[in-house]
């Protein structure tokens, strides 16, 4: 096995080198800095990162920043280091010449005001140093209580407070303008004085010098008229790169007065796929040997940006299946661009098992599997998909998913009625294919008593306006806004004001007891916890809306969420459901969609969202498109190129069966029956109304059935654990069910048909496929071999066979093939 992997990587690497060689020679160089034809540096110490991009014969672009040779003439105006950083020396004009592989390019540079340092603005220049050095991180001085008496605002989102704490608090002992180097701030920062956080600054660094200068110049906060940061710009935005290559980034801060500052060295970098790339402090991205897409999140003060690298494998992509629909077209286009050939199509047996588990949350019955195998109609898969979608099992399975996300949780016995009603409401909505925007609206704007209008139960668990907005955002917009309650969202553009403006939509929710919700007449308004200012309802990124005191603001919110122009609603559902089927969101995690976490196939996500929206938010139609696609039908078995693919959907990514599905599946195979207190015998685990049955089912708990405590899909754990294996291997619950008189083993032993036939059935039931000859032979000989009882005497044949079948069943439910959907 190990050997095979080694071979694979060698092969991949050789393919890659062949691919880059094919790009041919360097034909030209381009220099990027601030986007202007002439680079202007202003003030003493001004500097600018530049990047040098080489154009190859094939048209491909490569980063030459760290390979190029730099020369400035005359040589006393600027200096340039080998990493492409241009620093001002004296006023004047110079010409920078960059050469690589015999190709050259030039950039005119002008330096002004080099005789004096420009005035320092605390918010724009000093605070970013603390962020870069990690001083104001959540684990350090940035936490709510600060650290050892010194508090900074989290990630520097509140510069005015930082200034207070730094300059005025503790009798000003943290900064010492008379001898700046002796300031406690710097002594601790360079760890000359004992510092729990260790050394955060180098004494010879620019940041250190800037701090010294700021303290020495008298600790200016800056003028109120000083420009404010408007946005940041990452250059380049995206690039197709080769395995193992690197790319220098430039990060420009653009200010309200139109000025631009190079903040490449002050920004923070973080790749979303750490297995694919690493970043350093100066904005250099280095790829590893894994093809795919990687995004690097760039943060500077309150602003975020991304660099998106596509790293093709470069293998020839031939024999793509004919696309069935737009999904295939876009997935295959990506695979072609990536040079990643997809796996072959799976067989019918795999497909019926896969699609039954994914849509209906159950194994296909023996009859269904046989019928499907025997059916020769070309549209048999479509018919299967339709019949699964029309089944009550589909409604049960997806109601289980939604019931948990909508927190249909039993916190006390009296909740039961509401929980049953809410679950059934969700189930009916799905069964009747209620348009998703209507589904959302009936929850978000739910009014009345739970007994009459079950979605009011959502408000029973989600009590406060903050929780309501956070859950709404996560459920229906795929966004996690939690951070913005207390501070500017670190990975997002959303501010506290955005947060509370969104919360204002829930400000008029009235309650009569726990079970009744109504609209309280009045002007919708929330208070920004930070500023203590009232804020009116504003949807994310939308214009403020005037809501009359008579109108329920939640209706306006639902209008906005479900509106065709909303960029988040359809995308988040499409991504959520995509993940359901492919075990990986186009954005991952599926409910953390943000600018800094881009989709791996944006065109695909856009198209899914567009189709979903145009269909009138038809959930079944979305599922139908996904399940009918050739992409969904790709085998889980990798070919020689796509084993490590986790983003491009070049194959089906196997997933462990969810707790309820697995329990029902085990029962189906071994003819067991779980009993749930108070429910009719034979109730399936996917039909359980709420979380209250977890406590009495170790099986459900150990396999990660969620407790309906959050709106996050992550509450359902899909990992495998030792406890799970042990439970299936040797728990009393499973052993008793295997050896029960009504169990499958007893039935099969008593069944007069030949063992071979019965074993075939068993395989069909568990795996939806016929056994291989070898499997059959081993199983048959195991069943038929004579056994002795505990007394050492041979057992009667019936009893011996029954034990044999118990063993076979035990083995089957413990195979990965059974435990996984593949």
């Amino acid at each position: 096995m190990k050997k095979r992997i080694v071979t694979f990587f060698t092969l991949a690497a050789s393919l890659v080198s062949a691919a880059s060689g094919a790009d041919g020679k360097l034909t030209g160089l381009r220099i990027d800095a601030t986007g202007t034809t002439e680079l202007a540096l202003k003030g003493k110490g001004a500097r600018q990162q530049i990047i040098v991009t080489g154009k190859l014969e094939s048209g491909a672009e490569r980063d030459f920043t760290h390979k190029a040779h730099y020369e400035a003439a005359p040589n006393d105006v600027v200096s340039v280091d080998g990493d492409g950083v241009v620093s001002a020396i004296s006023d004047g004009a110079a010409m920078l010449t960059v050469t690589a592989d015999g190709v050259a390019s030039t950039l005119p540079i002008k330096v002004e005001g080099s005789g004096s340092f420009p005035p320092i603005n605390f918010a724009n220049q000093i605070v970013p140093i603390f962020t870069k050095a990690g001083c104001n991180a959540g684990g350090c001085h940035g936490k709510l209580s600060g650290q050892n008496g010194f508090k900074l605002s989290l990630l520097g989102f509140e510069p005015a407070e930082d200034y207070e704490h730094l300059v005025k608090e503790a009798r000003g002992r943290r900064v010492f303008p008379a001898a700046p180097e002796n300031s406690l701030l710097l002594l601790k920062g360079v760890a000359t004085a004992p510092h729990g956080g260790g050394k955060r600054l180098e004494p010879d660094s620019d940041d250190y010098r800037l701090l010294v200068r700021w303290i020495g110049q008298g600790l200016s906060y800056g003028k109120p008229t000083d420009p404010k940061l408007e946005r940041i710009e990452v250059i380049p935005k995206q690039r197709t790169m080769t395995l193992g290559s690197d790319q220098q980034l430039i990060v420009l801060a653009r200010y309200t007065d139109g000025s631009v500052q190079d903040v490449t060295r002050s920004a923070l970098y973080e790749p979303n796929e750490k297995s694919m790339a690493k970043t350093d402090e100066v904005g250099r991205v280095t790829l590893f040997d894994q093809p795919g897409d990687v995004a690097v999140m760039v943060r500077y003060q309150t602003e975020v940006g991304t660099f998106h690298a596509t790293v093709p494998l470069g293998a020839p992509v031939e024999n793509l299946p004919a696309p069935r629909n737009y999904i295939d077209e876009l997935v295959f286009a990506k695979l072609t661009a990536m040079g990643m050939p997809p796996s072959a199509a799976c067989d019918d047996a795999t497909f019926i098992r896969r699609v039954s588990l994914d849509i209906a949350g159950r194994l296909p019955s023996l009859e269904e599997t046989r019928r499907f195998a025997a059916d020769t109609a070309p549209d048999k898969s479509d018919k299967l998909i339709d019949s699964l979608l029309e089944s009550g099992d589909y409604a049960d399975f997806f109601a289980t998913k939604w019931s948990s996300l909508l927190r249909n949780k039993r916190t006390k016995p009296a909740d039961a009625r509401g929980n049953f009603a809410f679950r059934e409401w969700i189930r009916d909505s799905l069964r009747n294919n209620k348009p998703y925007d209507q589904f959302m609206r009936e929850i978000v704007a739910a009014s009345g008593a739970i007994a009459e209008n079950p979605p009011v139960a959502w408000y029973r668990q989600v009590k406060e306006p903050q929780q309501q907005l956070e859950d709404t955002a996560q459920l229906f917009l795929g966004m996690r806004l939690q951070c913005a309650q207390c501070h500017h969202h670190p990975f997002e553009k959303w501010s506290q004001n955005d947060y509370y403006s969104f919360a204002a939509f829930f400000s008029q929710v009235g309650r009569k007891g726990e079970e009744t919700i109504f609209h309280r007449r009045g002007m919708a308004v929330a208070q920004n916890k930070k500023t203590k200012q009232p804020v009116k309802p504003v949807a994310l990124g939308a214009a403020p809306v005037e809501i009359a005191p008579d109108d329920d603001p939640r209706l306006a919110l639902a209008d906005w969420i479900g509106g065709k122009e909303n960029p988040f609603f359809a995308r988040s559902l499409a991504n959520r459901y995509w993940k359901h089927f492919f075990n990986r969101g186009i954005v991952e995690p599926e409910d953390d969609m943000r600018e800094t976490n881009p989709p791996s196939n944006p065109e695909l996500l856009d198209a899914l969202a567009r189709h979903f929206s145009e269909s009138g938010f038809d959930l079944k139609a979305l599922i139908r498109s996904i399940a009918q696609s050739r992409t969904y039908r790709l085998s889980a078995l990798p070919n020689e190129f796509n084993k490590s693919d986790r983003q491009n959907f070049s194959r089906y990514y196997p997933k462990r069966l969810p707790a309820e599905v697995l329990l029902d599946g085990v029962n189906q195979v071994i003819n067991g029956r779980s009993s749930f207190a108070g429910l009719p015998p034979g109730t399936h685990a996917i039909a359980l109304p709420d979380n209250s049955f977890n406590a009495s089912s170790y099986f459900l708990t150990v396999f990660g059935r969620p407790d309906s405590s959050s709106a996050c899909e992550c509450e359902r754990t899909q990992e495998a654990s030792l406890a799970q294996s042990l439970h299936l291997l040797n728990s009393k619950e499973i052993q008793q069910a295997l050896s029960a008189d009504t169990g499958r083993a007893a039935l099969l032993a008593a069944d007069v048909r030949p063992d071979e036939e019965k074993l075939r059935d068993l395989h069909l039931l568990a795996y939806s496929r016929e056994p291989e000859a070898r499997e059959l032979a081993i199983a048959k000989s195991h069943v038929e071999k004579p056994r002795n009882g505990p007394d050492g005497k041979p057992l009667p044949e019936l009893q011996s066979k029954r034990q044999g079948y118990e063993d076979i069943l035990w083995a089957i439910i413990n195979t990965k093939e059974f435990l996984f959907n593949h």
């Binding site: 009625r417 059934e424 007449r521 209706l555 639902a558 108070g678």
Partner: protein, 702 residues
């Protein structure tokens, strides 16, 4: 599922420390077809010697069968289709009521298990099935339907005092769900093809047992979803429009029921009676006492429809005219008036305008939640753009935790501060996303009209000082005993006057003194006392309240109310209650009251303000009740200051008006104590009431 056996009213144990009292838990079947005989079985508490059923309609009679708790009920052909009350009675008294429905469909009674699709009970044609759902189980049925046939399936449960929350599903021949109903036990089904369909029934939370009975009707006969307007003027013949299905001669209504299916409409002329009728059908919510009106059942050649409540309007009823959602579309009204409207479609807002002169006073009231609708109306009065007044449903609970009268309907007093045009906006706070045309309302804007209505409840006998239990009870008097009825007043338009309470129709040997609900108060206890030697009896009794509002004499009969199921602690669970269709008194001649407290003399006791009144009392103890009684006095304003005193065999109650400031006038007072003892060998706690005592406090003469 299983036929209700004598499995019994477990919760009765919770109050076992009280005197034994007949309680009726279930009747099965809970109804029958008009003009037929029905075999009926009952369960309950202390019902071992029951020999009689007592119905709220005299045309329904019963004979005891030899086997325990079984009766043969004869429903006279003259008994109208409707909902009635039934009680069990024995020599020990009478029980709380349960519903007994008289229908027009052929009925069957569950006789074998139908908890699996294979054992589904067959429903043939228009018919009704009486069954009981077991815990953690389904009941299955099958029926034939032709393609396009529209059938209404109705599972009566709450309406027959059952604990069942029915969930219905129609299944195709392959067992797949075609349609489901989870809220009200109603399904409007149109068969997609000829065939045999399945019907599955279960309790929402899969609870079950004898208390989870149902009446499941499947019919192609008339069904009325709502009537518009929902009020008419007493003693007139008025036109109404019925909206529903299978209404002969109807036309398409261009309106859909909540389930999305089209409704028909039919205009009919209805005789609005001049007095309310509460012995058949009717509203049963505790807060509905104020909604006067009558129940109407449409009768067509194809059968009798479900009942619709029609209220009594003060004057001609205006109909809401859409569009009126926005202030500039406000519909003009001439006051006083009544408007019939609908909270429809979703987020409907209805604006009306009216002229008022400075100083005009009107009461503005909505009837909707009290009509049994799941609404929460809201009222807003504005002048131009300024808000003048708004009203949400009142939180006032007149009946306390054992008879919660809170309902969602708002009422407000409007006094015009200047001449001009005003606007009233009506909205359903629950209706922002709901499209259900059944959710109608009556908007009443009337000149101030002080009035009241009464409800009578059997006073719950506590078994400990802070007893928070509640249980179904009926009014029973033992020989020599005194029982209490709590009468609560629903006052209209700030009516604050005193309400005199009198009882009529008492059997021989039972006496009562007039009582009164003091001015501004909302309740009083009414005491009935039986002589030591009495005859067994059971019969209707009237409690009449009389008052004066200015020069107008007001008089109203009290409507009965009852707890329907036992509750151990009303702080943990709401107490289920309803209005009753009768309020009988039973005299128990087989037992005597364990303790009696009587004045030595029956007379008017006179006393001057500031004086001292001594009332010698006689304490009679019959069973093993030996505790000294710690008597407190009640029944007159200011009497709270009277200090509790000990009474053993004989005692004198001394009321010192220097300390106990009872205002001048005639008052009916009584003494009461909680005491313990043994009744028929069992430990019992009971509240002893003295016989009522009339005192006259005379003002000081100067």
């Amino acid at each position: 599922m299983a036929i209700p056996c004598a499995l019994f009213f477990i919760a009765a144990n919770l109050v076992s420390a009280q005197l034994p009292s007949l309680t009726l838990a279930t009747v099965f079947p809970a109804g029958g077809r008009s003009g037929t005989e029905v075999e009926l079985a009952v369960t309950g508490g202390s019902i071992e010697e029951i020999d009689q059923l007592y119905f709220s309609h005299p045309g329904i009679t019963a004979k005891k069968k030899p086997e325990p708790n079984a009766f043969t009920v004869t429903i006279g052909g003259e008994v109208p289709v409707g909902t009635y009350d039934v009680r069990v009675a024995s020599k020990f008294g009478v029980s709380n009521p349960r519903v007994f429905v008289v229908g027009d469909l052929p009925e069957s009674v569950e006789s074998k298990p139908n908890d699996k699709p294979e054992t589904a009970a067959e429903l043939s044609g228009d018919s009704l099935f009486n069954g009981v759902v077991a815990a953690a189980a389904f009941d299955f049925f099958k029926f034939n339907a032709k393609k396009g046939e529209r059938l209404s399936v109705e599972c009566m449960a709450a309406g027959i005092d059952s604990r069942l929350s029915p969930v219905l599903a129609i299944l195709d021949p392959a067992g797949r769900e075609l349609d489901a109903s989870r809220l009200n036990g109603l399904l409007d089904f149109i068969a997609p093809a000829d065939g045999i369909y399945g019907l599955r029934l279960n309790d929402l939370t899969f609870a079950g047992g004898p208390e989870y009975g149902y009446r499941l009707a499947i019919r192609s006969g008339p069904r009325v979803e709502f009537v518009f307007p929902s009020a008419g003027v007493r003693g007139t013949k008025s036109r109404f429009t019925l909206f529903g299905t299978h209404l002969p001669g109807s036309s398409q209504a261009n309106i859909s029921a909540a389930g999305g299916r089209a409704l028909e409409k039919l205009e009919v002329e209805i005789d609005v009676p001049s007095a309310g009728e509460t012995r058949v059908d009717g509203l049963c919510g505790a807060g509905s006492v104020m909604a006067e009106g009558f129940s109407f059942r449409f009768k067509g050649a194809n059968g009798v429809a479900n009942p619709q409540f029609i209220g009594f309007a003060e004057g001609p009823v205006a109909l809401e005219q859409e569009p009126n959602n926005r202030p500039e579309q406000a519909q003009k009204l001439d006051l006083p008036c009544e408007v019939a409207g609908q909270f429809y479609p979703a987020a409907d807002s209805d604006c009306f305008s009216f002229e008022a002169k400075k100083g005009d006073v009107y009461w503005v009231e909505i009837f909707s939640a009290r009509l049994g609708l799941p609404t929460s109306p809201f009222l807003l009065i504005q002048r131009e753009k300024a808000d003048i007044q708004e009203a949400y449903g009142s939180d006032a609970n007149l009946g306390g935790p054992r008879f919660n009268t809170v309902n969602g309907d708002p009422v407000l007093r409007f006094e015009s501060k200047e001449d001009g045009l005003y606007r009233v906006t009506v909205r359903d706070l629950f209706g922002n996303a709901r499209n259900d045309p059944r959710n109608g309302y009556r908007l009443v804007i009337r000149k101030e009209k002080p009035d009241f209505q009464l409800a009578a409840l059997v006073e719950f006998p506590p078994s400990k000082p802070d007893d928070r239990g509640a249980a179904p009870r009926a009014l029973i008097l033992r020989g020599g005993g005194t029982s209490a009825v709590r009468v609560i007043a629903f006052r209209q338009d700030n009516f604050g006057g005193e309400i005199d309470l009198n009882v009529e129709g008492l059997p021989p040997g039972v006496t009562s003194l007039p009582s009164k609900i003091p001015a501004g108060k909302t309740e009083a206890l009414l005491l009935l006392t039986a002589a030591e030697s009495v005859q067994r009896s059971i019969g209707a009794m009237r409690i009449i309240g009389k008052a004066k509002a200015g020069s107008i004499d007001l008089a109203h009969d009290a409507r009965g109310g009852t707890v329907t199921w036992n509750i151990a602690d009303y702080n943990n669970d709401p107490v289920p209650v309803r209005l009753t269709r009768d309020f009988p008194l039973a005299v128990n001649a087989a037992e005597t009251a364990p303790v009696s407290v009587d004045p030595l003399e029956v007379k008017q006791w006179e006393i001057a303000v500031g004086g001292k009144l001594e009332i010698p009392l006689k304490i009679t103890r019959r069973d093993e009740f030996k505790e000294v009684l710690k008597l407190k006095a009640y029944g007159a304003p200011g009497i709270e200051a009277f200090k509790e005193f000990d009474a053993d065999a004989a005692a004198t109650a001394t009321i010192d008006l220097a300390a106990v400031k009872i205002p001048p006038g005639t008052h009916t007072i009584y003494f009461s104590a909680l005491t313990k003892g043994k009744f028929k060998g069992k430990d019992v706690t009971l509240t002893v009431y003295s016989a009522p005592i009339e005192i006259v406090v005379k003002a000081e003469t100067k």
